[in-house]
């Protein structure tokens, strides 16, 4: 299958390893990955902060870039939620029938990375080897917008060597919330402090998630505390075929 990767703007800039891992997993499963180089951003940051006007051209650009793509893979639940929940609203607001049609046509082709593997490709064992204790943070968007359920867990449980420990209070937000982390930094930090407390209780060496936005936040707190836990996108764990050197001490 030809799979078109939407890397997302922040993964592109800050977390290229996640993109490389997605490519590695999909190619290992025998699929072809394309990267349409004109892609930029889904507009989530603008939209959620109240800059809906600025988000609109970003949506148009996205639609243009991915026109004709059969399957679009996105390693970020919050960007998928932006597309599924807010693209239709923006299109409806524009009252442009062509745009509304284009968005309707786009949505069934958009998949979050774990959704793509489990639902579309029907795979729960990607042949990974990762001999480390891992806990999984369910991002709010994957939990409540995408309803990914136990898909990430199915994938993680089939990884050889991996010891999965359930994260206590896993339905609690890590406090990132995009610009919320800056506009309400003390509250956001208090939420993060609770989340880090839960992570440390698991004694896991790795905290995984399907969203690097949450992980950037959690990692920021863990690094500040010099806590021995490494944050990794689930794609990077699924891509692994040999032990990672010193997880938890290279941060």
């Amino acid at each position: 299958m030809l799979i078109s990767l939407f890397i997302t703007c922040y993964n592109d800039t800050l977390f290229p390893e996640t993109g490389k891992a997605v490519v590695a997993v999909l190619e290992r499963l025998g699929h072809t990955v394309e990267f349409r180089e004109a892609q930029t951003c889904c507009g989530q940051m603008h939209y959620n902060t109240g800059y809906q006007q600025e988000a609109f051209p970003l949506m148009r650009h996205f639609l243009e870039v991915f026109r004709g793509a059969e399957v679009i893979c996105i390693p970020s639940a919050s960007c998928v939620a932006m597309i599924r929940e807010h693209f239709p609203v923006m299109a409806a607001d524009s009252t442009d029938p062509k745009l509304i049609h284009e968005v309707n046509d786009l949505l069934p082709r958009v998949f979050e990375f774990t959704e793509l593997l489990v639902d579309k490709l029907g795979v729960t064992d990607v042949g990974a080897f990762f001999p480390h204790p891992v806990t999984f943070h369910t991002s709010c968007h994957s939990l409540r917008s995408l309803h990914v359920g136990d898909k990430p867990m199915q994938l993680l449980k089939n990884i050889r060597g991996l010891k999965l420990t359930e994260l206590p209070d896993s339905d609690q937000c890590c406090g990132f919330g995009g610009t919320f982390a800056i506009k309400n930094a003390p509250v956001s930090s208090a939420m993060l402090s609770d989340k880090i407390g839960s992570i440390l209780k698991t004694n896991a060496q790795v905290c995984a998630a399907g969203d690097n936005s949450c992980l950037m936040h959690i990692d920021g707190g863990l690094t500040r505390q010099k806590a021995p836990v490494k944050c990794m996108h689930i794609a990077e764990i699924l891509a692994a075929t040999e032990p990672v050197s010193n997880p938890g001490s290279d941060q």
Partner: protein, 476 residues
């Protein structure tokens, strides 16, 4: 028009107020404990309902339908209530409602009233308005009594004194009820309140309350409660006044079937409330001889006119969204500067004030969606929060630094070439800040991030650069 939501217009911005509340460790422990308890009970009794999701959807549809035809249902309610011997008054704002209520009390020459818990009366600041007229209001709900005696503000929609623990309440009762001794068990405290209130129930001739539901079909008003103080206020006084926000209307008596299953489970985690009072006008030889309903607008029509945010008015004030909100659970209710706190407060408070005040509230959320998931009438609170943020930005009220950052970002993201240039710029600009691959101090408004958190630095090669390099290598 003088639309008022308590003292919200004078309250400090949420970030500032939240910072202050976060320093109050005792209050945070109280809030954490209380919300944990209610949340666990709510989850248990919601889970035992096989048709919970269907009930939520029914409730949403009934409320959405009612709001679309609110004018018709309000008039139907007025007609039915009047036919049953009630008197209906229309108040466009807080001042009008306060004046109507004071005039009714004055017409009986009374100087005291007993009150059932009503958030709407806090919204219009009824108590200070009555006091200014020389009328003393006595709160009879235990939590509202605690708030009133402590000269405090409610911090929760259903449990107004949730921020207080029993040691604090004991101290307050000893002082304000002028008691010599008082035990520290919950039973001791409720017994003290009972003694303090009983005499007032028997003496005071006018009662005031709100409404959980007002039924258009029959003109009935419904109040649910746990303590029985409401039942006392509804049966003992000669005159009873209900202050009812116009969004409290439901079309038919049978609609209560849906709401009386959802509300107690969502609010207090009970299968049903201990006291469910539904009364229709006046009845000879039973209850008050005179019954007034004050239908309050106070900014609601304006919310109704906005199709995107209208769902705000579906709220049945169960406060389930507060108990699950990770922001509320950190800050408590006072940080919101409004008697309506938590996620619902963050959307209702600024809208009632035409978005002229409380503009920081739509941002007091990480948009985690826990509120939407818990809401028994399915108000998509995150969607409304985003819509309201759009209104703040459109009115030009967002901070200048944010506007510049957003404009810059939208330019950088408008094409892949510009994005690649911006990525190069980030890599160059960050170098004085990066130590061991991480940034511990960010400049400007981003500094708020780095007060408690490091920031991942941008690696030397972006994904798109890697992809290009890889393709070149594959083709060579």
């Amino acid at each position: 028009m003088t639309v008022r939501v308590g003292n919200a217009a004078q309250a400090p911005d949420f970030p500032e107020a939240a910072k202050k509340q976060l320093a109050n460790a005792q209050m945070r422990r109280n809030v954490r404990h209380a919300t944990d308890v209610i949340r666990a009970k709510r989850n248990r009794v919601a889970a035992e309902m096989p048709d919970w999701e269907a009930l939520r959807e029914s409730a949403r549809q009934i409320k959405a339908h009612t709001l679309r035809h609110l004018d018709t249902y309000l008039e139907q309610f007025e007609k039915a209530c009047t036919a049953a011997g009630g008197r209906v008054h229309w108040a466009k704002d807080a001042d009008e409602a306060n004046a109507i209520i004071a005039a009714i009390i004055n017409s009986h020459g009374e100087k005291e009233v007993i009150k059932i818990k009503t958030m709407t009366s806090d919204e219009i600041r009824l108590n200070p308005a009555l006091e200014a007229e020389g009328i003393t209001p006595f709160e009879t709900d235990l939590a509202d009594l605690i708030v009133q005696l402590g000269n405090d503000q409610p911090s929760h929609i259903v449990v107004p004194a949730l921020h207080r623990n029993k040691t604090e309440i004991r101290k307050l009762f000893l002082e304000k009820m002028k008691l010599e001794t008082l035990g520290d068990q919950p039973e001791d405290l409720t017994e003290a309140a009972r003694r303090y209130l009983r005499e007032k129930f028997l003496r005071v001739k006018i009662g005031i309350g709100g409404a959980n539901f007002a039924i258009a079909e029959t003109g009935s008003v419904c109040i649910v409660e746990s303590e029985g103080n409401g039942r006392m206020c509804l049966t003992l006084p000669q005159v009873f006044i209900s202050l009812v926000g116009i969004e409290k209307i439901i079309p038919e008596f049978s609609d209560l079937e849906v709401f009386l299953q959802l509300l107690p489970r969502s609010a207090t985690g009970e299968r049903m409330n201990p006291y469910n009072s539904i009364w229709t006008g006046i009845s000879p030889n039973d209850g008050p001889k005179e019954f007034h309903v004050v239908l309050l607008d106070n900014g609601r029509s304006e919310i109704l006119a906005d199709e995107k945010t209208r769902q705000t008015l579906q709220c049945i004030r169960c406060a389930a969204c507060l108990n699950v909100c990770p922001v509320y659970r950190q800050t408590g209710g006072h940080a919101y500067g409004s008697i309506y706190s938590g996620p619902i407060g963050a959307i209702v408070t600024p809208q009632l004030q035409s978005m002229q005040h409380s503009q920081s509230l739509p941002y007091a959320s990480s948009l985690c969606g826990a509120c939407y998931e818990a809401c028994p009438v399915k108000i998509n609170i995150p969607e409304v929060l985003i819509e309201l943020r759009g209104k703040v930005v459109a009115a030009g009220d967002a901070p200048a630094s944010e506007k510049i950052a957003m404009k810059t970002a939208s330019f950088a993201l408008s094409s892949s070439r510009r994005l690649a240039t911006a990525q190069k710029f980030v890599r160059i600009a960050q170098w004085p800040l990066v130590h061991d691959g991480t940034i511990s101090k960010l400049p400007g408004f981003l500094g708020a991030w780095s007060e408690t958190r490091n920031m991942r630095s941008a690696p030397a090669e972006s994904f798109r650069q890697w992809w290009k390099r890889r393709r070149k290598e594959q083709h060579s």
